[in-house]
Amino acid sequence: MAAAVIFSVILASNFAVFFASQDRARLYFQANAEDALADEALALAGAAGTNLLERVQTFVDSRIFNCSQASGVISTAVGQLNDSRTAMNVTVDAFASMTPSAAAGDNLTMLAPFNGSSYGALDVSFEAHMSGSTGSDFASYSKKENHLMHLPVKMDAAVADCLGAAQGIEMGVSSSLAPNCALPEIGPLITTFVRGPAALASTDGFMFGLRFNVTSSSPCTVRYLVSIEQGSIPGPGGEFRVRMQEGGLASFEE
């Protein structure tokens, strides 16, 4: 009788510990499964972000932008970019958009050195919709995150230098009397109008270009084209360049 009582108590205690241990193991498994889904989602978000930024780079590299419209054109194109990736029961849908230039960090450090935003650069944000579950719905994961990344393009400076030079020509020409409406005489004059903006562009690390020709002699009118190029920019897809230009007609005072 005593043996039955003693061994029953020991056996019952063992069962209690055994089932507690089984419960703990199940919780560990569940936590591990959820952790795996979260880690996989983060890795896929990093891959999606890299791909989005690479596509922005390709778009920027392949065109010559109008200085006054560059930001708007790039913003529209970036807003149409999205990416979807699936692996290990996890799906990440990412949607890109341009974001106002600012300096802010971002915890998606696997995008380094392009993670976070940088003041004056081409800043892109993306919204990542991450979801996943294990086959038996034992663990599931769903999260929406916003991340910032950037291309080290000196967007603001390039636009400002380009428009500054165009404005310099417009103002200089319209307030000057053309001695003789011929290129040998007008050329040096126009060059002086952009001397300041050209020096500034060079300081900012841009290649500055100016082309012009006479389109009519009465009034003496010139067609000009100012161009700015930032080359050898490091990007996720290798080095690339950004080119923009602004042109117009300007007439000398008669």
Binding site: A2, A3, A4, F7, S8, I10, L11, N14, F15, V17, F18, A20, S21, Q22, D23, R24, A25, Y28, F29, A31, N32, D35, A36, D39, E40, L42, A43, L44, G46, A47, G49, T50, N51, E54, R85, T86, A87, M88, T109, M110, L111, A112, P113, F114, P236, G237, G238
Partner: protein, 120 residues
């Protein structure tokens, strides 16, 4: 009568001990430990990925990635990868606590793996 008592007691004792051995809580401990190790290894993989970055992954050749993983493998953890159709590192033994991360990248799909050299 006394022998019958002893026999019954021995029978109860033997079946109880068998029960204790069969339903040992150590079974759950082992499983919990394995889940913990896998989670730690995956954190390690993620930390390495965050350290090197996805840009490094897409701009490196499979051989460069393999050389890096080989370099960080040590006596306690082994790292391996499959980069597209390129495989590197040793093959994990069966039943080992294996952690993996899959990155769907262009130009290739990269699967990073890590496992402990000695089972816990």
């Amino acid at each position: 009568m006394r022998y019958v008592d002893l026999a019954v007691a021995a029978l109860i004792g033997a079946s109880s001990v068998t029960g204790i051995i069969a339903w040992t809580p150590r079974v759950g401990d082992g499983a919990s430990d394995s889940a913990r190790v896998t989670s730690q290894l995956r954190d390690e993989l993620l930390a390495r990925l965050e350290q090197k970055g996805t840009v490094w992954l897409i701009s490196s050749s499979p051989d460069e990635i393999c050389a890096y993983l080989n370099g960080i493998s040590n006596s306690s953890v082994t790292f391996s990868a499959s980069i597209g159709s390129h495989l590197c590192g040793p093959i994990p033994s069966e039943g080992v606590a294996l952690a993996s991360l899959t990155l769907v990248l262009i130009p290739y799909r990269v699967v990073l793996e890590a496992w402990p050299d000695a089972q816990p």
